[in-house]
């Protein structure tokens, strides 16, 4: 995949109220590139879920969005606690988020399922105690 453009973001893990800034910025950038509204919606929703997960569980991390001719790739990396059971984490409704997070409207156990639903591929590499790396891909129909 020939790379055209990439955006890099640091996701602040200390300020939950600011979570989503990177995703909103990506949405703006993609809109400027003239991508279809449906593609932009899929990318920004998947990225937002990943961003929120990094804030809730991992104390922040890094996000990179690569725009190529045939696809958009979203890479999320953190040095959080890792995901012990990825299969379980992928189940809709399963969440380990604390009550304080739930009271804000998160922690419904829809994050990873949404990321899968809105992308064409989702790859999760996670080691407990080391961190998590997620690569998502949204294909562009040219």
């Amino acid at each position: 995949m020939s790379e055209v453009l990439s955006f890099h973001f640091d996701v602040d893990g200390n300020d939950f109220t600011c979570a989503g800034q990177a995703s909103v910025q990506v949405k703006k950038n993609l809109r400027r590139l003239g991508l279809s509204p449906e593609t932009i919606r899929r990318v920004s929703i998947a990225m937002y879920e990943g961003e929120i997960n990094m804030v809730i569980h991992a104390g922040g991390g890094h996000a990179e969005v690569r725009v190529a001719q045939d696809a958009i790739e979203i890479i999320l990396e953190d040095k959080g606690p890792g995901i012990a059971d990825i299969e379980k984490a992928m189940q809709a409704g399963y969440s380990t988020a604390p009550d304080t997070i739930r009271s804000l409207g998160f922690g419904a156990g829809m994050g990873l399922p949404n990321m899968k639903r809105y992308t064409d591929s989702l790859d999760i590499q996670s080691t407990v105690g080391v961190g998590t790396r997620i690569v998502m891909r949204v294909n562009l129909d040219n």
Partner: protein, 108 residues
């Protein structure tokens, strides 16, 4: 119907109305933000009781026409200003989510 027209006709209060000409094309009700983001359609009026700053991010990403805080819920401190700045229409309804939706049903 535009958001400004809705405010005038549905007895709603505007906490922020930066894009009153935005057309409302549907309605979505929900408080779980991931759920809303996945299900609400672009152009929906989103009825919720969530009043924190994250609502602004979800409204932007889901591209809803407006957010309506139901049940007399007031936005958290700074959220109305944030909505204004982000171009998000934020409306307040004293009625329940159900009654607010019924009003929209009659008007849309």
């Amino acid at each position: 119907m535009t958001v400004s027209e809705l405010v005038a006709r549905a007895d709603l209060k505007a906490a922020a109305l930066p894009d009153g000409e935005r057309e409302i094309t549907g309605v979505y009700i929900g408080d779980l933000l991931s759920w809303v983001m996945g299900r609400a359609a672009s152009g929906d009026a989103w009825i919720t009781i969530m009043s924190n700053r994250n609502v602004a991010a979800v409204a932007t990403l889901a591209d809803t026409a407006c957010v309506i805080l139901a049940e007399g819920v007031q936005p958290d401190e700074g959220v109305a200003a944030l909505a204004e700045q982000k171009g998000i229409n934020l409306l307040l309804s004293g009625a329940s989510a159900y009654d607010t939706a019924l009003r929209l049903r009659d008007l849309l």
